[in-house]
């Protein structure tokens, strides 16, 4: 059962990080980053297969692929922004974390604007 492995590794990493934090907080930060990375890299393969399933399913429905890829991109950006923000918060740099979140939101907005515009067009067309 992989979840047990993941949890075990996380607990060990947490103990290590707590031990080292008093002496070398920067290295404790690296430990937490690396643990997160390891866990993510482990599950990303499963995630990839789920996404492909989704893509195949959506391909059968008649929706423009651009919309779906936009959705994927937005999810990806959200994930990376969250990762970065969490690392900053872990290190105590809350201001940098909030700036990262702001940047993520802006970029997602920029990506979503064409879809919103298309939606607006549609609505305007319907309303006389």
């Amino acid at each position: 059962m992989e979840i047990i492995q993941i949890v075990a590794i996380s607990i060990i990493a947490v103990v290590l990080a707590v031990l080292i934090r008093q002496h070398r907080p920067e290295i404790a930060l690296q430990i937490s980053v690396v643990t997160g990375l390891l866990i993510f890299l482990t599950v990303i393969i499963k995630l990839a297969s789920v996404l492909e399933e989704l893509q195949g399913f959506v391909g059968r429905i008649n929706i423009d692929m651009a919309y779906i890829s936009t959705i994927f991109r937005i999810v990806g950006i959200a994930y990376i922004a969250e990762f970065g923000a969490q690392v900053c918060k872990d290190a105590g740099e809350n201001s940098i974390a909030s700036k990262i979140e702001l940047a993520g939101k802006v970029i997602i907005l920029v990506l979503a604007v064409p879809i919103l515009m298309a939606l607006m067009e549609l609505i305007i067309q319907i309303i006389p």
Partner: protein
């Protein structure tokens, strides 16, 4: 899932802490600071590789190119 890297980083952290204390107690503080920075750089090298792998994966997976 190469878990050994976590232990490596942990061991380097402990070693750097011990080295720092030893060097400080014998008065060579500059050397202690340099050792701490060196340890940090080494660990950073190891972590940056993993981070770039992460970004590569996320990019290809979510079609972010």
């Amino acid at each position: 899932m190469d878990v050994n890297i976590i232990f490596k980083i942990g061991a380097i952290g402990i070693l750097v802490a011990a080295l720092y204390m030893v060097l400080k107690s014998t008065g060579r503080e500059e050397l202690a600071l340099m050792a701490a920075l060196g340890g940090l750089v080494v660990v950073l090298m190891m972590v940056i590789q993993m981070i770039s792998e992460l970004f590569e994966n996320v990019r290809t997976m979510f079609h972010l190119y």
